[in-house]
Structures are given as structure tokens and as C-alpha cells.
């Protein structure tokens, strides 16, 4: 009994629980469904308010980087992506869904930029916003969706689905929030090595693991060694930091490694097999898509029937 009470106490003690509760309630109200006697407009309004409230509480967990501009952008992009996601799945009109999804993709790309992944940001925008979403819209137009279809206004068992997904969200939130912040992290490996912090107590950077498993040259090979050894800008900063012990003026040196060059170097050495497999996958998908959409007569069995043709012929451009 005490255990259960303990559980309930710790669950209710988390701010995130309320964020999830509000967010879940709001999303449930926003999902297209007949909400009993409540008018759709009222349900939507209440849902939007609840979602906004939930998001605000959720955002209290966010700890932006110290600098002002990245912090502002982080909040903006994060909020946009989450709101865009909610609207993607709740819009009645598939076209609107696709456009909201585009906003999710764009803000994700912004977050990529903040994480110093400009190549990936560009790639995401090009592939998703440029190709995928346009293709989606193309298909939507092909199918002449109008947002008035019954099935677009009736979500399937929204209660259960909301419960499921928000339980998962709560679990993810709980596990992420309980990550040890580790104030000492970031102060360099010398500190770690001195204090001998237990690695399982906090999320170590793999390059900091060096302090525990020895120098990269000692007994590591291949991918492990490259993963641990300095490769990106951060690691280079740490390299400089190593020199800082005897050269105090070198502390602020940050050597920027070109992003694309770094990715390419890693991709075509450590991950060559993955690249080959991905290429094969793309090729197979190409062949598959062509094979599937190849218009053959048996696709519509009753196409000889003129009435049927008249009925479904309108969908053909």
C-alpha cells in the first residue's frame, strides 16, 4: 500500500504529469470526433486552451543554452514543432495536415541548425518539405480531398489512442527528466579523472569515457576509437583545452571542422556499409514504386462497366 502511495506521490509530484494531462485532454478534444452534446467549436476552443496550457507546462522542463539568441530560437522552434504536430494530427483537411507537417519539418530543421548540423537541416528541408510533402500534396490533390469526408471527421477510438500515446509520452518524459544533470559534466576530462565519478550515475559523453577506458590509442580500434577520439568542433575544443594546461591563452580557441566534410569523412569510412545498403534500398524502392503504380487493367476489375467508370472516372485527372 505504501508502495502504491509512494508511486502516486512521486507521479503527482512531477510537473510533467500535468503537462501530459493537459496536453492529452486538449488533443483529445481537438481530435475530429463527435463529443456528445458539446458543439465542435466549443470543444475545439477548450482543446486549444488545454494544449497551450500543457505545452507551457512542458516548456518549463526546457533549459535553453545560456546565450540569448540560441535560447530564443530553441523556444520558438520547439514550440512551433510541437504545435505543428498537434495540428497535423487534428486537422480535418489532409491538405492542412500536410502543411502543418511542413511547419514541423521546418522547425525541426531549425533545431538541427541549433545543434550545429547545417547539412542535415538543409537535407531535411529539401527531402521533406521539398519532396515528400509536395508528393503528399500531389496525391491529396489527385484524390480530390475536401475535408468533408466522414472518415476525416471521425477519429478511430480517440480516447484509447490518446491514452496510449500520452502514457508513452509521460514515460519518456519521466525517464528524460530523471537524467542526472551532472553539474560537473562539461568541465573536462581532467575533472572527471580526478573525481572518479561513477559513469552509470550520469549520462557521460562518449569522449569523456576516455577518462575511464584509457587513452584512445591504448586498446581501442576502428569505430570505437574514432567515436571516442576528437572529430567535431566540440572535440577540437577539448583538444585545445588539453593544451590549455600549459597555455592559458589558448582556452578560447574553437576549431571549426567543416560540417559536410566531417560527415562525409565519417560516412564513407565508418559507415560505408550503411551507405551501400541505403543506396540499394533507394533503388529497390524506386523499382517498387514504378512497379506498383504501373497502370494495368486488372487494377479496376469492373472498368468495363460504363456506370462504374462514370462513377470513379472523375478521380482520374
Amino acid at each position: 500500500m505504501d508502495v502504491i502511495l509512494n508511486f502516486i506521490g512521486s507521479v503527482l509530484g512531477m510537473t510533467g504529469t500535468y503537462a501530459v494531462l493537459f496536453g492529452g485532454l486538449g488533443t483529445y478534444l481537438l481530435l475530429p470526433h463527435r463529443h456528445g452534446a458539446i458543439r465542435p467549436r466549443a470543444a475545439h476552443g477548450a482543446g486549444l486552451i488545454a494544449v497551450a496550457l500543457g505545452l507551457l507546462i512542458y516548456m518549463t522542463y526546457w533549459r535553453p543554452p545560456g546565450l540569448l539568441l540560441p535560447a530564443v530560437f530553441l523556444y520558438v522552434f520547439g514550440a512551433t514543432s510541437v504545435i505543428g504536430a498537434v495540428l497535423t494530427i487534428t486537422s480535418r483537411d489532409p491538405v492542412a495536415s500536410a502543411l502543418w507537417f511542413a511547419s514541423v519539418v521546418l522547425s525541426t530543421a531549425g533545431l538541427f541548425l541549433l545543434a550545429e548540423a547545417p547539412f542535415l537541416a538543409a537535407g531535411t528541408i529539401i527531402v521533406y518539405a521539398g519532396a515528400v510533402i509536395v508528393t503528399f500534396l500531389f496525391v491529396i490533390m489527385l484524390a480530390q480531398m475536401e475535408g468533408k469526408a466522414d472518415y476525416d471527421r471521425a477519429a478511430r477510438s480517440p480516447g484509447w489512442a490518446t491514452l496510449t500515446s500520452f502514457i508513452i509520452l509521460w514515460c519518456l518524459l519521466a525517464s528524460i527528466a530523471t537524467l542526472k544533470t551532472g553539474e560537473k559534466v562539461g568541465t573536462g576530462i581532467h575533472h572527471l579523472a580526478r573525481n572518479r565519478l561513477e559513469p552509470e550515475k550520469q549520462l557521460l559523453r562518449s569522449r569523456d569515457l576516455e577518462a575511464y577506458i584509457g587513452s584512445p590509442d591504448a586498446n581501442m580500434t576502428g569505430v570505437v576509437r574514432r567515436a571516442v577520439s576528437p572529430m567535431s568542433l566540440v572535440a577540437d575544443a577539448r583538444l585545445a583545452e588539453g593544451e590549455a594546461a600549459d597555455n592559458p591563452e589558448a582556452t578560447s580557441v574553437l576549431v571549426h571542422r567543416p560540417n559536410v566534410a566531417g560527415i562525409a569523412a565519417s560516412m564513407y569510412t565508418d559507415h560505408l556499409a550503411s551507405v551501400a545498403i541505403a543506396g540499394a534500398l533507394l533503388f529497390v524502392a524506386l523499382v517498387g514504386a514504378v512497379a506498383i503504380t504501373n497502370p494495368r487493367m486488372p487494377v479496376r476489375p469492373s472498368s468495363s462497366d460504363p456506370a462504374q467508370r462514370a462513377a470513379v472516372g472523375s478521380v482520374r485527372p
Binding site: V3, N6, F7, S10, V11, R156, S157, W160, A161, L163, T164, S165, I167, I168, W170, C171, L172, A174, S175, T178
Partner: protein
């Protein structure tokens, strides 16, 4: 001492002997469609190469010559390497097996010509030879057992080669099942050996060393020897498991020659000879072996007296001669042990040649007579089949132990070994006394039935089989008379066989004479007719420890044996050389005995009424229990989930992707929740 031994070239490559025929068999099997009428070539080449390697190993034979080809089985404390042993016994067997098999394969190319399953036949022959040579080469009981089973499986496939014929299928099944009974004994012997062998090492040298040093209790040695003998009785057709061998001639005649002469039946004799260092320590078991061999020899000879089927006579004579070999093996007591083994193996060696010769000659007769083998339906073939006649005569004389052919010397060795055992054995002397005299009587019967078969076939007025022959059985009970052209003999009857069949006959006849001549020539030089053979065989693992025994050529035994042999042939000549009233009168005089012999003493019928009937009854009981108790129980239990599924669970199988996805996601969610709550509680 043994570790200092450096394996020579042929010892290191002795594994090629089973490998070549196997390769030939594989090539034939894979290329069956391409090769068609040439399917015999890869097997010929395989057996021929194996023979050459065997000849090479003859010179390298040594007590300690063994070589590990690769690690075969390694499980826990059981280590079974694929190890070959190249000593006197195995090299002798290898040369004999590959030589005789090669000749049989050559003969078969003519005999089986035109058969639709020609490639299958040769593939099986290759496999058979590979199994037999592997059996002889292997250096531990487990590997021997593997090839032992391989030989059994190949014999099953070859006896049932014309599987469409019910009698052939039944004979194959019978051979296989009877052999299973024997294999059971062998298997138990191996289990027992494994449990008591030092280090669970099943190789021959370690077991014999352990037996010699006394670390294996005497009772265990006796039990294991008896079990090994049990296994050998099935393979080598001794009482009580001999009944499969006479039926085994349902297969093509070359297969009979192979089984009776070179490969199958020699396996049991070989196994006992190989285990002789151990078996010789159990005199009681030795007496049992000798007595069994003696009884088998007498019984089979008595049956062979009256059979009308030429091949059946030969089959029973094989059983009888195997009985001789077991008599000799069983006589290996005390200080004549080595002498006995040498006698047994020498008889095996000579018998392989003249029995292969006799079978192939019978096959030649059968070939010429359009698949008729009943001796009542043809006579006086000596002018039509001159080569067959002469070669058959050589074989028959050798079988009748006519001096100076090979059979005379080997049979004399056997008799000498038995008479040696009479003096050497302490408590079982009376057994060997009986065995000795029975063996002499059997020698007389052997000469008689051999002469009878010979004279009935080749002498007297000429007569060829015809459908309206009054002597022909109304409904051809014998499968050979079916003449169903299953193997495509479309030629005229009554002609001599083609050279591809005649040449192996001549070679085998030559060998039979040659071995006799070698004995004759070597006698004054080495001091005994078979000393050259014994000298080679002495280089066998464990044989040097066996008692050598003083062996003088016993003029008494030799003269008695010769007189009996000549007497038997003479009696046969009087009775059968020309058609006369004597056989019919004899038939009337000894009516009961004659019928019993003709009916093979009703042993098969006895087995049917006892063992087979019991098995059948228990099988029907099991069938009943299985159908009405076990099956009902299982189906009843299976009904419960089906009912539950129909009533409740099927509704959830509604075909909606989202329902499925939601179910699994919900489960994942609860699982995650559980884990997270667990993690929350810990700090």
C-alpha cells in the same frame, strides 16, 4: 614406442581408399542423366584407384600405423577422430574388397546393361564399397559402427534395387530389419565400451591395451564380446539371424556376389577378428562362437543339399562357409589364438574369390538362360557356355576344397585351428571335439551340394528353359523367373556372356588357382601353406600378443578333408552327372528329411509364428492405443483453445491495422510505464 612411429605416404593417404569410390558414386549420382550408359566409368575409376592405394598400403602395414585424418566428433568427453588404421588385417581386407568389388563392378557393367536405373546401381555400388572400406579402415568402434550402418543401408538399397517387385522389396526389408537386430547388439556393446573405456576412448588400441592390462573387468569383456558377436551374427548371417542372406539374392546377381563375397558378410567376421585381442580373453564366448558357427555351417549345408535354385544353393553355401570362419574364430583360445584368426581370415580371403566367382558364374548362367535360375529347367550347358563352365568348375572345386586350389588350403587351416583348439582349450575341449567332427561332415556335404549344382547345370543332356517346360513351376514363385524384363535382357537365350562379363570370371578363376599355387610354392620355403598370409596378418594391432601356437601341417586332417571332398563330388557325379533314378529314390527314401531341407527346415516359418507374430500383435495394440487413446486425448485438448478462440478471441482479429497497432502500442505503453515506475521507486 608407438609415438615414435612416423606414418608413411600410404598411411597418411589411406583415407583415399573409401574416398575414391565415394567420389565415383557422387559423380555417377550427380551426372546420372549425362552419363547414362557410361555411368559405370566413374565407379570403375573410383574402385580402381582405391585398389591401387590399397596395394600401396599393403607394404606400409604396421602394428602402429594409424593416422588421424580429421577431428570428427568432439562432444564433452567423447572424442572420436576420423582415424584410419593401416595394419595387416585392414590392408588385407582393403585389397581383397577393392579387388573383388572392382571385378564385380566390371561384370555388372555387362550384366546390368540396359537397365533403366543403370546409374543408380553403380552409384550404390560405389557407396557400398566406400562404406565397406571405411569400416575396415576406421580405428575406433564408433566410426566402424557408422560405416557398419552404411553397409547395412547400401545392402538394403541394393537388395531392393528392383523395388517395384514385391519380393525384392520384402527381401530388402527383411535384410534391413534382421540387420537392425544385430546392430542393436553392436550398439549396446559400444555403449558399454564407452562407459568402461579409459578416458571414454573408443579407439581399438586404447581398448585393447586396457583389456590387456586388466583395467576392464573380465565379466565386461565377456559381455562385450558376446554383444559384438551378436552384431556379427546379423551381418555375417549366423544362427539365429542368417535368414536374410538367402533372400538377399533378390537383388541383381552382382549385388549378391558383392554381398556374399567381398563386402557385407565379411564385416561381421572382420569385426570379431579385429576385436580378437579382447575376445580371446573370454574362452566361454569363444566356445559359443565356435558352436554357433558349427551349427550354422551344418544347417546351411543341409539346406543347400536340396535347393533347386542355383543361386540359393550358393547363398546357403555362403552361410555355411561363414560358419566355418566363425568356427575358426571361436577356436582362438589359449596359445592357438593367432593361428585361429589367421585361419578365419585366410578362409575369408580365399572364399571371397571363389564365392564371387561362383556367383558371377551363376549370374552368367542366369544371363544366358534369360533370367531363369531354376536348375530343373536347364541342363548340360557345358557346350553352350564353355567359359562359364570352366570357371564355375574352378570355383566349385575350390569350394569343395579340392587340392591344390585355394579353398583346400584355407579349409585345412580352419580344420587345423579347430583341432588345435581341442588341445589348447581347458574346459571346452569337448565343444571343439564336436565342432571338429561336424566340420568334417559339413565338408563332405559341401562337396556334395557343390557337385550337385555343378553337374545339374553343366552336365547331362542339353536342355534350355522354355515356357512349356513340364518341370517349370506353374506360377513362378521365384522372383527370378518373372522375366519381367525390368533390367532389359532382350537378347537370345543360350549364348555365352560378353567379354566384359567373361573376363572378370577368368580373372577370379585365375586368382583362385593362383592362391593355391602360391600356397604350394610357399610351403617349403616358409614352412606352412599359409605362412605368407599369416606373416602379413601378424602385423595387426594386438595380434602379436596372441598365442602363436605350433602349427604343423596335419596330414591326418588334410587327407581326411580331401577324401571327404572327393567323396562328396564323386557321390554327386554318380547321382547327377546323367539323369538317373537315384535322386528320385533317395527322395523317397528320406522323404521327411528331404522335405524339411527343401523347406529350409522351416526356420522362416518358425520366426513368422513367434517373433514376427508377437511384434505384429504388439504393433496392433499400440496402433489401437495411439488412435483411440492418445489421439483422442490430444484432439480433446486441442478443442479447448479452438472453442475459446471461436467464441472470444476471433473477434479481436478484425483485420483493422489501426486496431492491431493500437493493441501493441498500448502494451508497449504499459510495459514502459511499469519500467519507469520501477525506476522511480529505486532512488
Amino acid at each position: 614406442m608407438e609415438s615414435a612411429y612416423e606414418p608413411g605416404f600410404f598411411v597418411r593417404n589411406a583415407w583415399l581408399i573409401p574416398f575414391f569410390p565415394l567420389l565415383g558414386a557422387l559423380v555417377t549420382a550427380v551426372g546420372a542423366r549425362r552419363l547414362r550408359g557410361l555411368a559405370h566409368l566413374p565407379v570403375w575409376a573410383g574402385i580402381g584407384l582405391a585398389f591401387l592405394v590399397s596395394l600401396g598400403t599393403l607394404a606400409s602395414a604396421d602394428h602402429a600405423a594409424k593416422y588421424t585424418v580429421f577431428e570428427w566428433l568432439s562432444a564433452g568427453n567423447l572424442e572420436v577422430p576420423f582415424q584410419v588404421r593401416v595394419d595387416g588385417l585392414s590392408t588385407m581386407m582393403l585389397s581383397m574388397v577393392t579387388f573383388v568389388s572392382g571385378l564385380v563392378a566390371i561384370f555388372a557393367a555387362g550384366y546390368m546393361h540396359g537397365d533403366p536405373s543403370y546409374p543408380r546401381f553403380f552409384a550404390l555400388i560405389g557407396l557400398f564399397v566406400a562404406s565397406m572400406t571405411g569400416l575396415v579402415l576406421s580405428n575406433n568402434y564408433l566410426l566402424t559402427y557408422v560405416f557398419w550402418e552404411g553397409v547395412g543401408a547400401c545392402s538394403y538399397l541394393l537388395i531392393g534395387f528392383w523395388y517395384a517387385r514385391p519380393s525384392a522389396a520384402a527381401a530388402a526389408m527383411k535384410a534391413f530389419l534382421v540387420n537392425r537386430v544385430g546392430d542393436f547388439g553392436f550398439a549396446i556393446a559400444i555403449f558399454w565400451l564407452w562407459s568402461i573405456a579409459p578416458g571414454h576412448d573408443l579407439s581399438y588400441d586404447s581398448i585393447f591395451a586396457a583389456a590387456e592390462s586388466g583395467s576392464i573387468p573380465t565379466s565386461a569383456i565377456a559381455g562385450i564380446s558376446l554383444l559384438l558377436f551378436w552384431g556379427a551374427t546379423a551381418k555375417s548371417a549366423q544362427i539365429p539371424l542368417y535368414t536374410w542372406l538367402p533372400d538377399a539374392m533378390e537383388g541383381p546377381t552382382p549385388v549378391s556376389a558383392l554381398i556374399h563375397a567381398a563386402t557385407m558378410v565379411t564385416a561381421g567376421v572382420y569385426l570379431l577378428a579385429r576385436s580378437m585381442p579382447m575376445v580371446a580373453m573370454a574362452p566361454g564366448v569363444q566356445a559359443v562362437i565356435a558352436a554357433t558357427g558349427c551349427a550354422t555351417a551344418l544347417l546351411a549345408a543341409a539346406i543347400a543339399l536340396t535347393q533347386n535354385d542355383l543361386k540359393r544353393v550358393m547363398a546357403y553355401s555362403t552361410v555355411s562357409q561363414l560358419g566355418y570362419m566363425f568356427m575358426a574364430l571361436g577356436s582362438g583360445v589359449g596359445d592357438v589364438a593367432q593361428l585361429a584368426v589367421v585361419a578365419a581370415m585366410f578362409h575369408l580371403f580365399t572364399h571371397a574369390f571363389f564365392k564371387a566367382l561362383l556367383f558371377l558364374a551363376s549370374g552368367s548362367v542366369m544371363h544366358a538362360m534369360g533370367d531363369v535360375i531354376d536348375m530343373r529347367r536347364f541342363r548340360g550347358l557345358r557346350h553352350r557356355l564353355p567359359i562359364t563352365y570352366l570357371t564355375f568348375a574352378v570355383g566349385a572345386l575350390a569350394l569343395a576344397a579340392f587340392p591344390p586350389l585355394s579353398g583346400f588350403f584355407s579349409k585345412d587351416e580352419v580344420l587345423g585351428a579347430i583341432s588345435g583348439a581341442i588341445h589348447a582349450s581347458e574346459s571346452y575341449s569337448w565343444v571343439y571335439q564336436i565342432v571338429y567332427w561336424t566340420a568334417l561332415v559339413t565338408a563332405f556335404m559341401t562337396a556334395f551340394y557343390t557337385g550337385r549344382a555343378f553337374f545339374l547345370t553343366f552336365h547331362g543332356p542339353e536342355k534350355l528353359p522354355s515356357p512349356n517346360d513340364p518341370e517349370a513351376p506353374p506360377v513362378d514363385a521365384h522372383a527370378h523367373g518373372h522375366a519381367d524384363d525390368a533390367h532389359g535382357h532382350h537378347h537370345e537365350i543360350g549364348h555365352e556372356s560378353p567379354p566384359v562379363m567373361a573376363i572378370p570370371l577368368m580373372i577370379l578363376a585365375g586368382c583362385t588357382v593362383l592362391i593355391g599355387l602360391i600356397c604350394l610354392v610357399a610351403w617349403p620355403i616358409t614352412g606352412g601353406p599359409a605362412e605368407w598370409f599369416a606373416g602379413h596378418l601378424e602385423k595387426t594391432l594386438g595380434f602379436e600378443a596372441l598365442g602363436h601356437g605350433e602349427h604343423g601341417f596335419s596330414w591326418f586332417t588334410a587327407t581326411l578333408g580331401t577324401l571327404l571332398g572327393v567323396g562328396g563330388i564323386a557321390l554327386a557325379y554318380v547321382m547327377y552327372a546323367e539323369p538317373g533314378p537315384l535322386p528320385a529314390r533317395m527322395k523317397e527314401r528320406f522323404g521327411a528329411l528331404y522335405r524339411a531341407s527343401l523347406g529350409k527346415f522351416y526356420v522362416d516359418e518358425f520366426y513368422d509364428a513367434t517373433v514376427v507374430a508377437i511384434v505384429r500383435i504388439s504393433a496392433s495394440i499400440s496402433d489401437f492405443v495411439d488412435t483411440y487413446v492418445v489421439d483422442r486425448l490430444i484432439t480433446g485438448i486441442a478443442l479447448i483453445p479452438r472453442a475459446i478462440g471461436r467464441a472470444r478471441l476471433a473477434l479481436y482479429q478484425n483485420g483493422l491495422i489501426q486496431f492491431y497497432a493500437a493493441s501493441s502500442a498500448l502494451c508497449v505503453a504499459f510495459l514502459l510505464l511499469f519500467l519507469v515506475l520501477l525506476g522511480l521507486q529505486r532512488p
